[in-house]
């Protein structure tokens, strides 16, 4: 079920909220069970048969978590169980997400013309798999607490985050389902959550879906685009992707807040980033955290230990040597981003996307280490406009690989961006005025406050077109209620043709 569908807005959400309000009188177990059941129903609406896969995954992982907790004092059996559990999770993910694309690739490459079927990718499988692996790892390190079954089911399947995140960490969500909490509808949270949800819905329906046709058209004709057409296309895609996913995240955070559950932020104006490192601290923030905790840190630790074993120093000075930088920074960064690329999809273009970002990050780290303060280049790049523009262009190039159907298409598109198929203005002439909506949206993403700033959910508001003021800060007053209510009217007008979220494919 999509958050931007009438089924969700007019049937599912009112029923779940009503049930939550009523069952809150009967205590925690009733509320948690209701939310868990509702979440499974939410998943079942897509395909009932895959609920069994989800429940199977949850049950097996829960059993593993109990075993791991019991074996916490016996490191060797614990490691065996943990390894088996992680392998089972990754094998399931690999079967659904990577096996058949890989077989197709092999069949096509070797001209075997094998008749291979495709399996349907279960919605949200990457998200619920990684959430559970993280829990098992932390449990094995005793940084997580064991849970009762229903709480665990709810933690994994809670409908606002089930399909496309944010990727939750047990430490921030489990305590919110714990005993002693006051459950029941809190009108302040309902008001805030509804406002948050509405802003996300607007991002999706009124913005992302408007950019989509032009992005799709451009990426469908990668071999024939002029330079202007390619730039119009890639800018439309950049905005579609941002408003689609950040809109989804806002909706998820808002929905959770209606039930007084606080989710972590997932976007923080990423296109305002002044470097690639800054970009990844703002884009899909919960994925970045996951990658850092569960991939980058182990890789970096391994590299550290290896150098130490070889008797090489791991000091800051060592980072300035080629060997030191390569082992301690470049290797863990590129390896992590390579896996992040593979996580996003089966295809060489996703691997290139990941490696490209790995290289960007490595260059960014090298620049930080090696730049000479006060040099002309340093001063030029340090200017906010220059650093934001450089970062944005680097992100756009990587997004071409992220969006393209194949590596060949992506390379064609990059060729178009630099004028390989002519500079031309024919796309300008052929486009309807809506195609240039991106020209209005770009100032919004660069100069306006973001959702959490507008909703006053951060302690400091970054400088924006209104300074650091709260000129358009949310308040629970009639002006905001009527403004958001009117926006909902516009959303309803456009929502008759619902479209899926881009991140549902992951």
């Amino acid at each position: 079920m999509l958050f931007n569908s009438p089924e969700f807005l007019f049937c599912y959400l009112p029923i779940v909220l009503f049930g939550y309000a009523v069952l809150a009188r009967f205590g925690r177990t009733a509320v948690v069970s209701w939310l868990a059941l509702s979440s499974l129903a939410f998943y079942a609406y897509w395909r009932v048969e895959f609920v069994f896969l989800l429940l199977g995954s949850v049950t097996v992982n829960y059993a593993c978590s109990r075993t791991i907790w019991r074996l916490r004092d016996r490191s060797r059996p614990l490691m065996i169980v943990l390894t088996l559990a992680i392998t089972a999770n990754l094998a399931t993910l690999a079967f659904f997400k990577y096996l058949f694309p890989l077989l197709h690739f092999v069949s096509d490459t070797l001209a075997l013309h094998a008749h291979l079927t495709n399996v349907i990718l279960p919605l949200g499988i990457s998200f619920f798999t990684f959430t559970q692996i993280a829990y098992l790892v932390d449990l094995s390190q005793e940084t997580a607490e064991p849970q009762d079954f229903i709480s665990y089911v709810l933690f994994v399947t809670f409908f606002p985050h089930l399909i496309a995140g944010p990727i939750l960490h047990h430490s921030e969500v489990m305590p919110q389902f714990a005993k002693g909490r006051d459950f029941g509808l809190k009108w302040r949270d309902v008001a805030l959550g509804m406002s948050w949800f509405t802003l996300g819905l607007c991002k999706k329906v009124l913005l992302a879906d408007r950019f989509a046709p032009y992005a799709n058209a451009a990426f469908a004709h990668t071999g024939s685009l002029t330079m202007t057409g390619a730039w119009i296309g890639v800018l439309n895609y950049a905005l579609q992707l941002y408003f689609d996913f950040s809109g989804y995240s806002d909706m998820a955070i808002g929905l959770a807040r209606m039930f007084s559950i606080e989710f972590p932020f997932n976007f923080d104006s990423p296109y305002k980033a002044t470097s690639i490192i800054d970009f990844w601290a703002r884009w899909h923030m919960t994925l970045t955290r996951y990658l850092t905790l569960y991939l980058y840190n182990p890789f970096a630790m391994w590299a550290n230990r290896r150098r130490a074993a070889l008797g090489k120093p791991n000091s800051r000075k060592a980072l300035r040597t080629v060997g030191g930088f390569g082992t301690l920074v470049a290797f863990p960064t590129i390896a992590t981003m390579l896996l992040a690329g593979i996580w996003h999809g089966a295809g060489l273009q996703f691997i290139i996307f990941g490696v490209l970002h790995g290289l960007y990050l490595t260059v960014n780290h090298a620049w930080r280490l090696l730049r000479r303060e006060g040099s002309v280049l340093s001063r030029v790049i340090a200017r906010p406009a220059m650093s934001v523009a450089l970062t944005f262009i680097a992100v756009l190039i990587a997004q071409v690989f992220f969006r393209s159907a194949s590596t060949r298409n992506a390379l064609d598109f990059v060729g178009s961006l630099v004028g390989r198929h002519g500079v031309g203005f024919r796309e300008f002439r052929n486009q309807p005025p809506h195609a240039f909506l991106f020209l209005l949206a770009l100032p919004v993403i660069w100069f306006f406050p973001n959702t959490q700033e507008i909703l006053k959910q951060v302690s400091t508001v970054r400088a924006n077109i209104f300074g650091s003021s709260t000129l358009i800060a949310w308040r629970a007053n009639w002006l905001w209620a009527s403004g958001l209510g009117s926006l909902l009217v516009v959303v309803l007008w456009y929502m008759t043709d619902t479209s899926s979220f881009l991140y549902f494919q992951f």
């Binding site: 302690s459 009639w478 909902l488």
Partner: protein
Amino acid sequence: MSDGSRGAGDDSGANIEDESSIPTTSPLRFQAYVSLMLLIPALFLASSIPIVRSKSFPVESGDPFLLNPDYAFSLKHVDCDVVIYGDSTALTGLDPTAVSRATGLKTCNIAQAQSIVEILGMLALDTYLKNNAPPKYIVMQFAPETLTRGRSNFFWPEGLTLLLRKESIFQALPTFILHPVEAYHFSIWAIKAKLASLIEPPVDFASTQAIFRSRGGLLILPKPPETHCLNDIAYTQPTVDWVRMLKEKYANKGTRVLINVSPLPSCSPIAAPVEAGVRNVTDNSLSLYPVGLFCDLDRHLTLEGAERASLELGKQLLAAQKAAAVRHEPVRAFRMTERQHVK
């Protein structure tokens, strides 16, 4: 990546301000806020009710199946011998004047679009029967898919339009509450249609209206003949119990009920399964016409197609009359001899 870890999520939870970030306001204020926020879209959607109930809406809607929504309800004491009912295939495919010519029986066509049948059931037919003498024949013609019950194509606008126009708001409300998604789509459709009619003149249905008036209930869509068949149709078997129920319900006071399946184009990919599916279920067998006799969705006929279908119906009615006469003849002869014996 290493720097990326700093703020990514670790401090994001901490970013969420505590209670102090939102002014301490009474719950009542938040309730009022939520109510106002929801009231505006609710009123927007509800504005479709007066729009749909307005006199001008059937024309403004641009939906040809709403052009004569009151026709069936307006027929009083016309006392037709043959009453044609059914879905849009009957409305667009059976010409009462042609049937009359072929049979000599006074014929009326009070068929309606399928969604009206789905939502209002047999209201139009029941109303007609209440206001007129029982006919000799009720002919119900349905498209193959309409013969299958329990499908979910509910939100077709004609049915909900007529529901709002024929019933009071309180009678119609449960249908809308029980089908909120359909109600939403319907409201947006109605409001968009109204606004579109304000911006540009409504579609000209003069020729359709003229045919409807001159032929007493035949609606021909102003579309060119089709050139090829649709290929994306799924078909499921008819609901035999429903067909039987219709026959039992309306076959009284001397009325005979014929339940027919509408013709399909000969190129239709579902022709064979439909032919097999309706065998021994409907009173006719499936007719296959050239695709050029259809003008819409492989179901709605051109005027030429409607004339052909009407002549077929005429023949079917004549055959039915003949069969009934043969059946009654021995009975009459037996009664005659019985009376003679009594004498």
